[in-house]
Each structure stands twice: as structure tokens, then as C-alpha cells.
């Protein structure tokens, strides 16, 4: 289209006159002068070689100043030599093989590998090569445009490593019932992330604090073992928390010298810092969960024996997921004339909720034993919740031991289910708002008989609530399950608890008035 290039003419002409002044490059080949000027000015490294693929291979006939800058080589040292002078031990042979295949077949090539600057410093390069064809379609030259992508490669590896850590932390928090497994999951992710950032060798994570659980995780990054395993070096970075405490270290080992030089220390440090943060976060979270659970277990009563004529069963189950522990409670208090059952749920979870729970439970038991009227007890509990800046729901039932009379009071809590041979129904109680929000409202007693052989089951919403399902459906399901329930109360409670969704913590307490001995057989002892 531009007419034949005639170097000796000093210009490129067409029908309409001179198009370009031309210049020659190292092999005497002519290029338009404006094109050379553009190549000389651009910041993109460009290298032009001959098209000899057979040994000794292509020869460099032109490089621009940007190329000199990137490779730190004078043009005089490069022109006339093979592009192989840029390669070294870390250069990916498979990429070079593909390059030769593509060019032999007349296809353009693009790829990424590691090249070396004049002083031996390796760097990541992305480059593409296009053949220049003559009038007969035969390649005369290859034009390679190149880019130093070291910063991008490093940033992408750090991004992937951090993403991996975040994902692992979410997974670890989701499986807290096995704390060692959760920490192991996280350490593996640290090793994988550090290995990804290092790019070579083996990554090993070591924790200094033995109370943190499993101490090590490691991964191999190299597909091949080091050429000489006797002569290897390592890079070690500390995992330091923001408060300056070092919790362990990451070691990249089994490295050759040149591989070590390729590792970006600031990136590795960054991953180590993030690792310290997520490991500390997980450990702290697990510590809180353990503390809340211990507090919970210490506070909840052990119901070994029920008063004559009654059967009592109770359970507390922490939620499966992390902090879902610490808000629910139950209690069984015997007085001279009644069994008092309490079940409640402090809003929120964790140590704060467990602390309020302990306070409410202690207060309730003390006030009941002191014979305080129910409305005053609710008032005391309401103030305790306001003090702790939280709210709680609670049901309190007073089951007479010398009559069928049962009275139930509720502050925003789910009603109990009554069940027996006539089926199961929710007891229609009239709740007042939750504790902490009473504003002087007094609880009203719902009076309901508990006949011989009948049971009442009190529970927190963890028993019936399922994500995405309206609460009434969960209540219906519970009633359906209890409608046909028979056998020891313990077994019935186990059965309804086994079908809960287990996300939230759950407290259950149930009481059954035994059938009168002269009418029915007593239930067989367990």
C-alpha cells in the first residue's frame, strides 16, 4: 500500500508523491523515519529481530530506548545478539517452547515469563510478538512489544493471598465447634497465600503460642524440587500483630539464591501481617465463645430429681455458628407449694449476653425464693436489663404441686406448648413487652390447668426458628411433633431438639405431671 521500500532512495513514495523519509536499522532493513521516531519516543519497550528460527536463532536488529531502560542494557551491547541473553534459570521453558511453535506456524505469540536485567535482577515480563511478512508472505522480522509486569504480578498475588485468608477466616468462623480444625484451616490458607506471593520453594507457617492449637502448616510451591537440595536458602518473615506482638513466622524455604532474589519482601510482610490479624481474630473469637459457654454451663441448673409426681427434662445447646452462645437460659426452682420454671433469652450473644443471663437467672431465683410477687420480680428484671443496656424475653411458670393450677407470665417470650394424650397446642399467654422495655407494664397471669399426664414444654426461639421461615410455621411444626409424643420426657425433649436448625442457641425445659398412680401405670424409669 505504501509502495516498495527503496532504502537507497531515502524515501517511500506513492502515486501522490513522498510518503515517508526512510532510515535503516542494524541489518540494513529500511523503516519509515517517522516510525523509527515513534519507536524511539515511546515508553513501551520494543525489540525487532530477524526471523531466523533455526540455530543460532533470531538476531536483534533494533531495540528502542525504553527497552534499554527496562533491561538496563546499552543498545550497542544488544544489537547483533540473540534475545536469549535476556533469559535465565527462572525463565519458563514451556513458554519459550510455545513461542517457537507459534512463530514456526506463522502465528503471533503472547506470553509471560521471567527475564533478567543486565545486572542479573530478574523481573516479570509480558510480551507479544508479531511476524513482519514480505510481499511473498514470508516472515522477514519479528517485532516484540514488551512490558515489565513485576508490580502487577506481585499485586495480584498479594490480592489472591489476602482473598484466600479472608475466605478461610469466614470458613473458620463458620465451623467453630472444632476450634483446632478452624485454626488449621486458617494456617493452611496462610501457607498457601504466602507460597503464592513467594512463587518458589516451600511455605511453612509456625505459631509461637502453643495455646493457639496446631502449630504448623506448610505447602510446596515448586513443581520440581530444588536442583541441589544441599544448597538452599530461606526467607523468614514474622507474623506480627498490630500491637507489636509476634505470634509466629512464615518461612519460605528450599530456595535457590536466584529464587530468593525474586521474592518480594514487602508483599510477604503484608501477607504475614494480615495472617497475624486473622489468626488473632479467630483465636480471640474462640476464646470469647469458650468463656461464654463455660459461664453458661456453670450457671444452668442440673435437674437431677423432680418433685414427687413430676417429671422434668431440660437442655441447653449452644448454636453451631460461632458467637451464638450465651443468651439463653432456663431454671427450675422448687418452692413449698410449686415448681417454678423459667426460660429466657437475652438479646445478642457472647460474653455480654451470658453475663446478663447470669444476672437475670440469679435475680429470678433469689426473688422467687424470697416469695416476692411476680410483678415486682419482672420490675426488678426490667431494671437489670436497662442497666445492662439490653433486652431479654422470659417466660415464668408456677406449677402448683398440690393442685392442677398453673400460672404463666411472659415478657415478650414465646408461649409454651401443652401436650398429652389430647394432642399439642400453644398455650395462649398474653405477653407484655420484653424485659428492659416494660415501662411499668405489669405482667398478667395466664391460668391454665396442667392435668395428670399432661406436659408443658418451654423453649427459646432457637428450637423453632429457621432462616427464611416464618416463625408460626416453626411453632406449628413443634406442635405437630409433640402431638404424638409419648414415652419419657427426656426422650421427647431429645427428639424435638434433634430437629432444630442449630444456628442459634437453644434452651428447653419441660415438665410433666404424672398420671395418678391409682388410674395409670407410672412411666417406666429410664
Amino acid at each position: 500500500m505504501f509502495g516498495r521500500v527503496r532504502p537507497d532512495w531515502g524515501s517511500v513514495t506513492s502515486d501522490r508523491g513522498t510518503l515517508f523519509e526512510i532510515d535503516t536499522i542494524a541489518d540494513g532493513h529500511a523503516l519509515p523515519r517517522v516510525l523509527i521516531a515513534a519507536l524511539e519516543e515511546t515508553s513501551s519497550p520494543v525489540c525487532i529481530t530477524t526471523a531466523d528460527l533455526d540455530a543460532p536463532g533470531p538476531t536483534i536488529v533494533y531495540v528502542n530506548p525504553a527497552y534499554s531502560l527496562m533491561t538496563r542494557r546499552d543498545r550497542a551491547d544488544v544489537i547483533g545478539r540473540s534475545p536469549r541473553i535476556m533469559q535465565g534459570p527462572l525463565t519458563d521453558r514451556s513458554v519459550l517452547d510455545r513461542l517457537r511453535d507459534d512463530l514456526s506456524a506463522g502465528r503471533p505469540f503472547s506470553g509471560e515469563t521471567i527475564n533478567y536485567r543486565a545486572d542479573g535482577e530478574p523481573f516479570h515480563i509480558a510480551w507479544s510478538i508479531d511476524p513482519v511478512l514480505d510481499d511473498h508472505g514470508v516472515a522477514t522480522h519479528y517485532v516484540a512489544t514488551q512490558r515489565d509486569v513485576t508490580a502487577e504480578v506481585v499485586a495480584e498475588r498479594v490480592r489472591l493471598a489476602e482473598e484466600g485468608l479472608d475466605t478461610a477466616l469466614v470458613d473458620a468462623l463458620g465451623s467453630p465447634s472444632d476450634t483446632e480444625a478452624a485454626l488449621a484451616l486458617l494456617l493452611d490458607a496462610v501457607a498457601v497465600g504466602a507460597g503464592r506471593v513467594a512463587g518458589y520453594g516451600t511455605a511453612e507457617v509456625t505459631l509461637r503460642d502453643p495455646t493457639l492449637g496446631p502449630l504448623r502448616a506448610s505447602v510446596d510451591i515448586n513443581a520440581e524440587p530444588p536442583a541441589n537440595p544441599d544448597v538452599t536458602v530461606e526467607v523468614r518473615v514474622p507474623m506480627t500483630r498490630v500491637d507489636g506482638v509476634t505470634i509466629g513466622s512464615i518461612t519460605i524455604g528450599n530456595l535457590r539464591d536466584d529464587e530468593r532474589n525474586m521474592i518480594d519482601r514487602p508483599s510477604l510482610n503484608r501477607v504475614a501481617e494480615r495472617a497475624a490479624a486473622v489468626i488473632t481474630g479467630l483465636a480471640e473469637y474462640q476464646r470469647q465463645r469458650r468463656t461464654a459457654l463455660r459461664l453458661q454451663e456453670a450457671m444452668l441448673p442440673r435437674v437431677d430429681a423432680a418433685p414427687d409426681g413430676f417429671e422434668i427434662a431440660s437442655r441447653y445447646l449452644p448454636g453451631d455458628v460461632g458467637v451464638y452462645v450465651g443468651g439463653d437460659w432456663f431454671d427450675v426452682i422448687e418452692t413449698a407449694t410449686a415448681i417454678v420454671l423459667v426460660v429466657g433469652d437475652v438479646s445478642g450473644h457472647g460474653i455480654d449476653a451470658a453475663t446478663t443471663m447470669a444476672r437475670l437467672q440469679t435475680l429470678t431465683a433469689a426473688e422467687i425464693r424470697a416469695g416476692r410477687p411476680i410483678d415486682q420480680i419482672f420490675d426488678v428484671l426490667d431494671r437489670a436489663c436497662r442497666d445492662d443496656a439490653t433486652m431479654a424475653t422470659m417466660t415464668l411458670a408456677m406449677i402448683s404441686t398440690d393442685s392442677e393450677d398453673t400460672r404463666i407470665w411472659s415478657a415478650g417470650h414465646l408461649p409454651p406448648v401443652r401436650f398429652g394424650s389430647d394432642g399439642a397446642t400453644l398455650v395462649a399467654v398474653s405477653p407484655i413487652p420484653p424485659l428492659g422495655h416494660l415501662r411499668g407494664e405489669q405482667p398478667t397471669a395466664t391460668t391454665t390447668p396442667l392435668s395428670d399426664g399432661e406436659s408443658l414444654l418451654f423453649f427459646t426461639d432457637g428450637l423453632v426458628e429457621r432462616r427464611g421461615e416464618p416463625l408460626p410455621e416453626g411453632l406449628d411444626r413443634l406442635c405437630a411433633a409433640l402431638g404424638h409424643a409419648a414415652g419419657p420426657l427426656d426422650d421427647i425433649v431429645d427428639s424435638v431438639i434433634s430437629s432444630r436448625s442449630a444456628e442459634d442457641d437453644t434452651a428447653v425445659v419441660a415438665v410433666r405431671r404424672h398420671p395418678s398412680a391409682d388410674e395409670h401405670e407410672p412411666p417406666s424409669p429410664r
Binding site: S347, P433, P472
Partner: protein, 106 residues
């Protein structure tokens, strides 16, 4: 893992909530309500909400109390039968009044 909760403000002093108000999403709603002045006659449209957990109720209750203290008010619009039942079970029917129409909020 957490359900998504969309809260937009189609009119003055009107928040429309779409999604489940549970432990994970309740803080989102709380933040949006916190932006509403305490003397506002706030309506919260729950037409797109079928599930409110105890954490969600706590947010609504706290909002009602803040608005009442500030001379404003809170009404729930478009509450489903399920939500109404939930309010009754929680003893909150009197504290979180329902309204049938958007009324002067619209």
C-alpha cells in the same frame, strides 16, 4: 451467608424494607433508622418482609422509643399476617402500631 436486606427511602420519613430482618441484617436497618430525625413521623413499609427475628424486633422497638422520646412516632405499614402474629407473640403489638395505608407519608 447473610441474607441481603434492601432499605430504601421512597418518600419523606418512609423506609421500605425488602428482605429478612435477622441477626445479620438488623444492623443495616438500625443504621438507616438512625439517620431519621427523632421528631419524624416515620413509617416503615414491611410489605417486602416476611421474616423478623428477635434482633430485628429489638431494632424496631429501639426506634419506636427513640422517636417517641423525640416527639416523633413509628408506624409499621404493610405488615403480613406472619409479622402481626410475631408482634403479638412478642408482646409488642401495643408498642409497634400498625397502619393500613401510607397516609400522609406518601
Amino acid at each position: 451467608m447473610a441474607a441481603e436486606l434492601l432499605v430504601d427511602e421512597p418518600g419523606p420519613s418512609l423506609l421500605r424494607v425488602v428482605g429478612e430482618i435477622d441477626t445479620h441484617t438488623a444492623p443495616t436497618l438500625a443504621e438507616r433508622i438512625a439517620d431519621i430525625p427523632a421528631d419524624a413521623a416515620l413509617g416503615i413499609d414491611l410489605t417486602g418482609t416476611s421474616f423478623i427475628s428477635s434482633a430485628g424486633l429489638a431494632v424496631l422497638l429501639a426506634a419506636a422509643e427513640r422517636l417517641e422520646a423525640g416527639g416523633g412516632s413509628l408506624r409499621l405499614l404493610g405488615a403480613s399476617e406472619t409479622v402481626i402474629r410475631l408482634l403479638e407473640l412478642s408482646g409488642l403489638a401495643g408498642r409497634l402500631p400498625l397502619a393500613d395505608e401510607l397516609g400522609d407519608n406518601h
